[in-house]
């Protein structure tokens, strides 16, 4: 599903965010990208999302090489990804339901499917009762779950979540990770970037990508979840 080959990323101000990294993610994988702040977790997710492009090396997602000039391909690829942004990127002045619907309106769904998928997604994250609430009136944890609902309503092949547990207490953080992990399916992979390593210590059958100053080490942890 994802192939990152000898990738380096240097920002315009000269900061080296990723240093010649390699990573392969297959179907049905649950991947945690961990590391301290500034270790390159978000940069790696941005490369996979096509929000940034590598300075050197190649990034292939679902067979598509991420290049700036392939904007039409990139747009189609993004339709298959369910992103959960660190800063949520919900649209204020709209309800939770409207935010979820907005994320899937341009996909190949009928009007009924748009509404049904959105309602189902909100139910899965336990927010059906807040469907008509304005997102600015929700707590951070609830808003986080709306963001997840928007991602999963798209029926994506890849879910990318950037620090979904940030600003949450322990119980809410565990709850969010469990919700995200539950969407790992036969042809759907889930990648979660988090610095809260204590929350995944006991998890099995996962891949852990540890990042530090732009370098990575990969641990495949087998066994029952």
């Amino acid at each position: 599903m994802i192939e990152v080959k000898e990738v380096s990323l240097r920002y315009r101000d000269g900061t080296l965010a990723l240093n010649n990294i390699n990573l392969t993610v297959g179907d049905n994988e649950l991947v945690y990208i961990t590391g301290p702040s500034g270790s390159g977790k978000t940069s790696l997710l941005k490369l996979i999302m096509g929000m940034e492009y590598p300075t050197s090396g190649t990034v292939k997602v679902m067979g598509h090489e991420m290049k700036e000039e392939k904007s039409e391909e990139l747009r189609n690829l993004r339709k298959k990804i369910g992103p959960v942004f660190q800063e949520l990127k919900l649209v204020h002045g709209r309800s939770a339901m409207e935010n979820v619907m907005m994320g899937i309106r341009f996909l190949d769904f009928s009007r009924q499917e748009i509404r049904r998928n959105s309602a189902d997604a909100l139910e899965k994250v336990g927010l059906s009762h807040k469907a008509d609430s304005m997102v600015e009136n929700l707590s951070w944890g609830e808003a986080q779950r709306v963001s997840i609902a928007r991602a999963i309503a798209r029926k994506p092949r890849l879910i990318l979540a950037d620090e979904p547990t940030g600003n949450l207490d322990h119980d809410n953080a565990v709850n969010i990770l469990n919700i995200l992990a539950s969407f790992r399916q036969k042809d759907t992979s889930v990648i979660i970037a988090t610095h809260a390593t204590h929350l995944i210590e006991d998890q099995k059958n996962i891949t852990i990508v540890r990042m530090n100053q732009g370098n990575i080490s990969v641990e495949k942890r087998g066994g029952e979840e």
């Binding site: 999302m49 929000m51 747009r75 189609n76 690829l77 993004r78 339709k79 990804i81 992103p83 942004f85 990127k89 649209v91 002045g93 619907m101 907005m102 994320g103 309106r105 341009f106 996909l107 190949d108 769904f109 009928s110 009007r111 748009i114 798209r154």
Partner: protein, 296 residues
């Protein structure tokens, strides 16, 4: 297409939200557009009336041929018959002294009493020749060549003066149309740019989610269209009232100006205004969208 239709309600709702998210600024945009379209509509109405006036004057193009007074009635009618056969002449008929007198009475209307000061009818009989306006010069020369004709009177100079005025109106109108077009496009595109700026976070999010340009841009095109079409409707209503008022005033005080039927003029102006509103709304929106896309 299925997707587009399924989202029509969303597009309109978004457009409404964009308009109302910046009420004061968009109110001024709307008011400015109405004022600009009013100027445009006035020029269109003036153009329409003046074009009709010229058309009618050209249709009425005629010359008056005054003949030798010693000719008897039979010779005069024979002369009129000969003149009517000339190339470019539509018809020629004799206007005798009494008809000439009556015509002047009609023209003078309330002031016709002045004619009673004359002891005898001061008007001479003549032959009224209706001609093809494009061949005025050559026909006048031919008619002058008849030995029975003493002199010819034509309305060439009047037509030329009116044509000059019309040319001036058309030049002025063209300038106004250009000014209206450019100004409206700039106003609308600026409003769209403002809307895009206000919604830049939402647009960016939609892009990251893979939304196509048409999906992101269509609500903004709706905004431009709504604004100009609404401005067009208000302008049309104001113009309807204005046209009726002007007809009441001009119909009473300047009866000799051949105004087109009020319904025809009103319908024509409304069609032009609404058509121009739609075109300018679309153009302004697309211009606004295209000029900002690289910065998003």
């Amino acid at each position: 297409m299925k997707n587009f239709i399924a989202n029509l309600g969303y597009f309109f709702k978004e457009a409404r939200r964009i308009i109302f998210s910046n009420k004061l600024s968009n109110f001024f945009t709307f008011s400015g557009t109405v004022l600009i379209l009013l100027i445009f509509a006035s020029v269109v109405a003036g153009w329409s009336v003046s074009s009709r006036l010229v058309g009618m004057l050209e249709e009425e193009a005629e010359i008056s041929a005054f003949f030798d007074e010693n000719l008897d009635e039979k010779e005069v009618f024979a002369l009129a018959e000969d003149l009517s056969k000339l190339d470019g002449v539509r018809n020629a008929r004799v206007v005798d002294e009494s008809e000439a007198y009556k015509r002047m009475q009609e023209i003078l209307a309330d002031d016709a009493g002045i004619l009673e000061l004359f002891e005898h009818n001061p008007f001479k009989a003549y032959i009224e020749i209706r001609i093809d306006p494009g061949r005025t010069e050559s026909i006048i020369e031919t008619v002058k060549g008849f030995k029975e004709i003493e002199y010819v009177r034509d309305n060439k100079s009047v037509l030329k003066s009116i044509n000059d005025i019309i040319r001036g109106i058309k030049t002025f109108g063209t300038l106004i149309i250009f000014a209206v077009g450019i100004t409206t496009i700039i106003i609308i595109s600026h409003m769209i740019r403002q809307g895009i700026y206000n919604n830049r976070d939402q647009i960016r999010t939609l892009r990251f989610l893979g939304a196509p340009r048409t999906f992101i841009g269509f609500p903004f095109i709706c905004v431009g269209l709504f604004m100009t079409v609404a401005a067009g409707i208000l302008t049309s209503l104001v113009m309807l009232i204005l046209i009726h008022k002007v007809y009441q005033i001009m119909g009473g005080s300047i009866p000799f100006i051949p105004l087109p039927p009020v319904a025809d003029l009103s319908l024509g102006v409304i069609i032009v205004i609404m058509g121009v509103s739609i075109v300018l709304g679309l153009t302004g929106s697309l211009f606004g969208l295209s000029s900002i896309k690289d910065h998003q």
